[in-house]
């Protein structure tokens, strides 16, 4: 490989990644050399700027025909762009949260670390959404995971933070091993790590034993990624880690990390497993194994929603809620409808705004228990309304983007053949169960009298974030076509990553 080859790559495809990477490097250096007196918040603003730059760069890439660089290990297709957009927007909001984050256990000394580690994690997620090779996939995944271990434990003098980091490491390690194990089988059968090539080779596969191995690989990869997306029964780490992690990190885990997991799942499933024939050779391996996915989705929805009922701490409740949402998304994956990718994209977008809003609210109010919400509507009516709207969104009540997202998933599950009636029924039934805990927050905020005064660690920033997110939640709920039009106009050939 000489310089010519290197230069011949159209590097601009990786532009956003380079921006993030560069900023992360720069930040680490700055953090090292800048005097202690320099407020590290400015580093946060710098990283926000880099994200904005990356978004802008990414937007300029829209419309190009999909192409790959670095020998097909890095692909830039509309799928990648669309999801990277979600990741970047989410990351921007999370960073804003982080900038205004002022926990009781001072974070000042590690704040610089936080920002560049965060950027690196983001980089990992972005690489995942663009990678065309098992190795890059894996490296991206691990880049994100390893950084998030540290992020979770960043309050290093705070025991819950340490503990949750430790738990995350152990569970995450196991998950990594399982995923990798699955990948190794996949590689073993295909003999290549490139996804497209793999798909091509496996299409002609007829050996039943190999198919068996592939199915095993499928299951193991699914399980490994289920840790990431927090699908039951592989979600158990979620509540503990969410509780122990600082709020911005929790937001990161519940949005970016989850989204990245789904991106990986979709990419691998559609490119590889969808093209592997099953034994009878008239359907694909993915379809043959659909029932496993369905079971996973069902268990996730039921477990997440039911256990959420008993939670008294908001963060733990939200952890289970995020488990439940993973279940809903898995329904979309299971159904594998004609518009699955759009559905998931929309859902993730909707979910992003709602989750950011709720974490921002938590950070603003500086509370942990549900009970502490009492009297919110008297004390801060606007916040209460924002909370209510967010909860309605998460519960999937019409008028919010959560409803449209669920509607879409639902439609997907019912419009395919065979129709997933049972799964759809579970989806809707558990949604009703989820009303109980989402509305519990509303009840406390609106109907209960205050027994204690709040200590708002209020920042204007949070207010801005909340307003934007709530506005988006409602806007996407009332005019969902805004998002869909954007999607259809810019990513018309959404499935171009197969080419």
């Amino acid at each position: 490989m000489d310089l010519d080859t290197l230069l011949s790559f159209s590097w601009h495809a990786m532009g956003p990644e380079f921006i993030i990477l560069g900023t992360a490097t720069l930040l680490s250096l700055l953090d090292l050399f800048l005097p202690r007196s320099f407020h590290r918040k400015w580093l946060g603003w710098l990283s926000v700027a880099s994200i904005v730059a990356a978004i802008v760069f990414l937007l300029t890439l829209i419309g190009d025909t999909p192409f790959a660089i670095l020998y097909d290990t890095f692909r830039l297709d509309s799928f990648a762009i669309a999801f990277k957009l979600v990741l970047l927007v989410a990351a921007g909001f999370v960073l804003l949260l982080a900038i205004s984050y002022e926990p009781k256990e001072k974070l000042t000394e590690f704040r610089g670390e936080f920002f560049y580690l965060f950027l690196v994690a983001l980089l990992g997620a972005m690489i995942m959404s663009s990678s065309g090779d098992l190795i890059t996939l894996f490296v991206g995944l691990e880049l994100m995971t390893l950084s998030s271990y540290i992020l979770v434990g960043i309050r290093k003098k705070h025991l819950p933070s340490n503990e949750s980091a430790m738990k995350y490491v152990i569970n995450g390690g196991i998950a990594t091993a399982i995923t990798l194990f699955g990948m190794s089988y996949l590689y073993g059968v295909a003999g290549t790590t490139n996804l497209l090539e793999m798909a091509e080779r496996l299409q002609e596969l007829t050996n039943t034993q190999h198919l068996f191995l592939l199915a095993l690989a499928f299951l193991m990869i699914l399980v490994g990624l289920s840790f990431k997306i927090a699908a039951a029964p592989f979600h158990m780490w979620t509540p503990d880690v969410y509780e122990g992690a600082p709020i911005p990190v929790t937001a990161f885990l519940s949005i970016i990390s989850k989204a990245a997991g789904f991106i990986l799942i979709i990419r691998m499933f559609i490119t590889v497993f969808y093209h592997i024939p099953d034994v009878s050779n008239n359907s694909s391996l993915l379809m043959a194994l659909q029932s496993f996915l369905a079971v996973l989705a069902a268990v996730t929805m039921i477990w997440g929603n039911i256990v959420a009922l008993r939670q008294t701490k908001i963060k733990r409740m939200l952890a289970y809620s995020s488990v439940a949402h993973a279940g809903y998304l898995l329904v979309a994956v299971t159904a594998f409808s004609a518009f699955m990718v759009e559905t998931i994209w929309f859902y993730l977008t909707a979910y992003l705004f709602m989750t950011i809003a709720v974490f921002s609210l938590l950070q603003l109010m500086n509370i942990e228990e549900v009970k502490q919400l009492s009297g919110l509507s008297k004390r801060a009516p606007l916040l209460a309304v924002a909370l209510a709207l967010t909860m309605l969104g998460l519960a999937g009540i019409p008028g919010t983007s959560g409803f449209i997202g669920k509607l879409n998933i639902f439609l997907g599950a019912l419009s395919t053949e065979p129709t997933h009636y049972l799964l759809a029924a579970i989806l809707i039934a558990t949604t009703v169960i989820s009303y109980i805990y989402y509305f519990k927050l509303i009840i406390y905020a609106f109907f209960r009298e205050a027994n204690r005064t709040f200590q708002m660690s209020g920042k204007k920033m949070n207010g801005v974030i909340i307003s934007i997110c709530v506005l988006m939640t409602v806007l996407l709920g009332v005019f969902p076509q805004l998002a869909y039009d954007f999607l259809h106009q810019n990513f018309l050939s959404f499935y171009d990553f197969l080419q």
Partner: protein
């Protein structure tokens, strides 16, 4: 088919009020109330205008229209597009319900004067509730219908949870979960129809499903969907045994909200049963009429018997509502012109009567802080006018001829006797029981010696007129029912009565 201009204004006019209210300071009670009441008026006047113009011979279809709203799926890639449009439209039945809703909303806004605190939030939610209710009846699209349906649910949840009486939280929760379940089932049905036929437009679905000979849905699936619809709307109506949430709501919610709840919200269940259940699956509906008739009789008698043993006026009326919804069911079970028309009449009539009752309850509650029979004994002495209205409401409720309740009951029974005479005879027991429990309640409150000689002021001139308007409607329909039946005629024939 342009943009449904008038209907959009009717449905969303109250939303304007919500926006205006956000600008008003929350301490300005008078202003808030004025704004709220004023913003209920456009819908009322416009729906009256629609009724009049339809009587003048303007086709109702000309008011409907649509606007592209959202699309799922990508036609250029997959050739399949699920599009959900913003479609509004009315037929005779929904127009009447639209008017009923608008009327009751205005009156309930008046009745809401008794709300003691938090007017701003209250009226904002109230108007939102009105938007939801109006939207439900104007929606020409199942998904739109569902969205408005849920809006009413959320708004009621807040209104009850915040401004309800003793057990408001539990009640709000119970409302939420029951109705959540109902709407979940409804959503399943809607989405199955949508996913399999590719349209959510009500008229389009009707023609697709009526032309369907088993290619889109097998008849088993249709029956299943219909049963699901029964459950979904049965929770709302409510059909026994899904009624317990509604008893709670009747006894815990603020009176003005119960006016709307009993007057309009429960009727959505009936509207759905008639419009969707019967409209989409007429054949399957026919095969289930026996069960419907039995359920109707159970509702009728169960509600009546339980109303007989209650001590609290609100609870009596709650069970009375259950009983009266039984009439809707038996009317539908008859599945002939008389029966369906009876069900429709009952929907309107009970809406008016229940609203009148709860309007009065609000007045009693404001003065006595109680609605139990023991506390209100001998009201005729202290509040003769209010007692008079209560008596009239009671008589209307027990189906006295000359009032709307009779026409409804009569038609429903007339229909039922043709189809299921034996069941009808059993159901007739309900007529007697209704008289028994209504008289027990009304006489228990108005007659007798006032033991707690608490002198209170009678209804003021200001308070009287909503009751008079309601009474006029009740008597108007009762004396000359053709006023309604001529509007309903076409739709009943359309439903293949």
């Amino acid at each position: 088919m342009g943009f449904p201009f008038i209907l959009t204004i009717i449905v969303f006019a109250p939303l304007l009020g919500v926006l205006l209210l956000t600008l008003v300071a929350k301490t300005k009670e008078k202003l808030i109330k004025t704004v709220a009441i004023l913003s209920t008026l456009p819908s009322l006047f416009l729906s009256i205008y629609l009724i009049i113009s339809s009587k003048m011979g303007v086709e109702l279809v000309s008011y409907s229209g649509k606007l592209s709203w959202m699309q799922f799926g990508n036609p250029e890639v997959f050739g399949k597009l699920y599009s959900i449009d913003y479609e509004l439209g009315v037929d005779g039945f929904s127009l009447i319900l639209l008017l009923l809703t608008a009327l009751l909303s205005t009156l309930a806004a008046f009745a809401s004067f008794q709300i003691k605190a938090g007017w701003k939030g209250y009226y904002m939610l109230f108007l939102l509730l009105e938007v939801g209710m109006l939207g439900v009846f104007a929606a020409e699209n199942l998904i739109l219908f569902f969205i408005f349906f849920e809006v009413t649910l959320v708004a009621t949840f807040f209104l009850i949870g915040k401004w309800g009486l003793y057990e408001k939280e539990r009640t709000a929760f119970s409302l939420l979960i029951y109705n959540g379940m109902g709407s979940a089932i409804l959503l399943v049905v809607i989405m199955v129809l949508f996913a399999k036929t590719g349209t959510a437009n009500i008229d389009a679905l009707m023609s697709i499903l009526s032309a369907d000979d088993g290619t889109v849905f097998s008849s088993k699936v249709k029956t299943g969907l219909l049963i699901a619809l029964f459950i979904a709307f049965g929770i709302k109506l409510p059909i026994w045994p899904f009624h317990s949430w509604m008893v709670k709501v009747h006894s815990e919610a603020p009176a003005a909200i119960v006016m709307l709840h009993a007057g309009v919200l429960l009727k959505i269940g009936a509207y759905g049963l008639i419009h969707f259940g019967l409209g989409f699956f007429p054949k399957q509906f026919e095969s289930l009429t026996l069960w419907l008739a039995i359920l109707g009789v159970i509702n009728l008698l169960y509600g009546a018997f339980l109303a007989l043993s209650q001590q609290e006026l609100r609870k009596i009326l709650a069970y009375s509502s259950i009983s009266h919804m039984g009439i809707v069911l038996i009317g539908l079970a008859a599945l002939n012109e008389a029966g369906i028309q009876g069900a429709m009449f009952q929907v309107v009539s009970h809406g008016l009567i229940a609203a009148l009752f709860f309007y009065l309850i609000g007045i009693f509650y404001e003065r006595y802080q109680s609605t139990s029979m023991a506390d209100l004994n001998g009201l005729a002495k202290t509040m003769p006018i209010a007692s008079g209205f209560l008596l009239v409401a009671g008589l209307a409720s027990l189906g006295l001829p000359g009032m709307s309740g009779f026409v409804a009951e009569f038609l429903a029974f007339l229909g039922l006797f043709q189809e299921w005479p034996v069941i009808a005879v059993i159901a007739c027991l309900g007529i007697i029981l209704t008289a028994v429990y209504i008289l027990r309640a009304v006489l228990g409150i108005t007659f007798g010696q006032q033991e707690k000689a608490k002198m209170v002021r009678d209804m003021t001139a200001f308070e009287i007129w909503p009751a008079i308007i309601l009474l006029l409607c009740i008597v108007g329909i009762g004396v000359y029912p053709d006023i309604l039946s001529s509007t309903l005629k076409s739709i009943i024939i359309g439903l293949g009565g």
